[in-house]
Symmetry: C2
Subunit: 222 residues, 2 copies
């Protein structure tokens, strides 16, 4: 069986957990905090990042998108990359948008200020950084709202890795108290539909030790 090396607030690990659940691939989980740079994690992934999926045939699989492409190629159930080269390009473009831009501008700063400073550095968050991250997050919600004006799902007519990636990042922001759908009705409906998928529902009860989410976090009706 596969083992996913992850921690509860890693958005890329959440992305993998959702996609493996969508694909009905079973896996165990093992806690790994990248900032501890344990020998075990460094041996599995020279980049020292989570997630890593180890265990079956061949070397470990490193990087959330690499893992997604791997299972989309090897497991037929629930295709997640779109059909046709252009549709696939759009799924990949948006997946990268959330994994790189939304993460760097909004989710990573939130993780630093609200999780890492609290649990590891034992420092208070920087209010200015929180404000900047909040503004960036609002711009990403704007973009989601815009996309959903023309499409049922983020990359087009079908649920795809782009939706999974966006939901993974937003759910981490939500856990950290940084998400509000005020003014984004389509984004809110989309997120509530995603939240009710079994693949996502399954990870909402998870807690990061020492850090609680707001009350509404795991409610389907938020």
């Amino acid at each position: 069986m596969w083992t996913l090396h992850q921690f509860p607030l890693c958005p890329f690990s959440r992305k993998v957990r959702i996609l493996l659940a969508e694909k009905d691939v079973e896996f165990a989980m093992q806690l790994a905090y990248p900032w501890e740079k344990s020998d075990e994690l460094m041996d599995l992934n020279r980049a020292g990042q989570t997630p890593v999926l180890s265990g079956e045939r061949g070397g470990p699989l490193v990087d959330s998108t690499v893992i997604a492409e791997y299972f989309d190629e090897t497991v037929q159930k629930s295709p997640l990359m779109g059909s046709g080269a252009s549709a696939r390009a759009e799924v990949r473009r948006l997946t990268i948008w959330f994994d790189q831009k939304c993460y760097a501008e909004a989710v990573n700063p939130l993780l630093l200020e609200r999780m890492y400073k609290r649990l590891v550095l034992r420092q208070p968050p920087d209010a200015r950084m929180l404000r900047v991250a909040g503004q960036a997050l609002a711009q990403h919600l704007d973009y989601i709202e815009y996309l959903l004006g023309e499409r049922r799902w983020l990359a087009g007519g079908s649920f795809s890795l782009a939706d999974i990636s966006a939901a993974a990042h937003l759910s981490v922001a939500d856990y950290l108290g940084g998400l509000s759908f005020d003014g984004y009705p389509d984004a809110k409906t989309w997120y509530s539909t995603i939240k009710s998928r079994p693949s996502v529902r399954r990870l909402l009860p998870d807690r990061m030790e020492g850090l609680s989410p707001p009350q509404h976090y795991d409610k389907l009706d938020f």
Copy 2:
């Protein structure tokens, strides 16, 4: 025909130029400096980044890896992603390694210090940053040397997108005077083989206005 929106020292644009040449796909080029955030570039790519490939069927293609996957799916000549799901995972892992880690730690700082500060900010480079970038680049050469101890090409037995990506980033570092293969004989041989491929040779005469490369830069025997 396709049009590639790029600038000569953008490593991701170089990656696309090399892969399109390997695939025998014709394209025109148009200069775009992302820091100018022109309306044209922003309309093509909301992320405001180069490269973008516009022109044929459907919307523009954004992001170097999205472009690579698109042409690997649509053009049979010169498969670049590896064959079999595990080999493909390794090609993608290493491509991301160079595009994210090597770029962030070494190539982007070099571009900032030696290109952007000189051409746009009109400031001298920061010697400390150059030293840190140089050390990071050496670690990436170390890793290339290690990989080539076991493999003919970076991701295995065949030339792949991982080699293209690595060569694109290293060639930009080389243009900026930041690359030395002293102590890395296998990496040097690999890079010299890559440099002699027509796809790569074709881009070495390119110059960034206002910035000259060192003498050895476009020599095959360096």
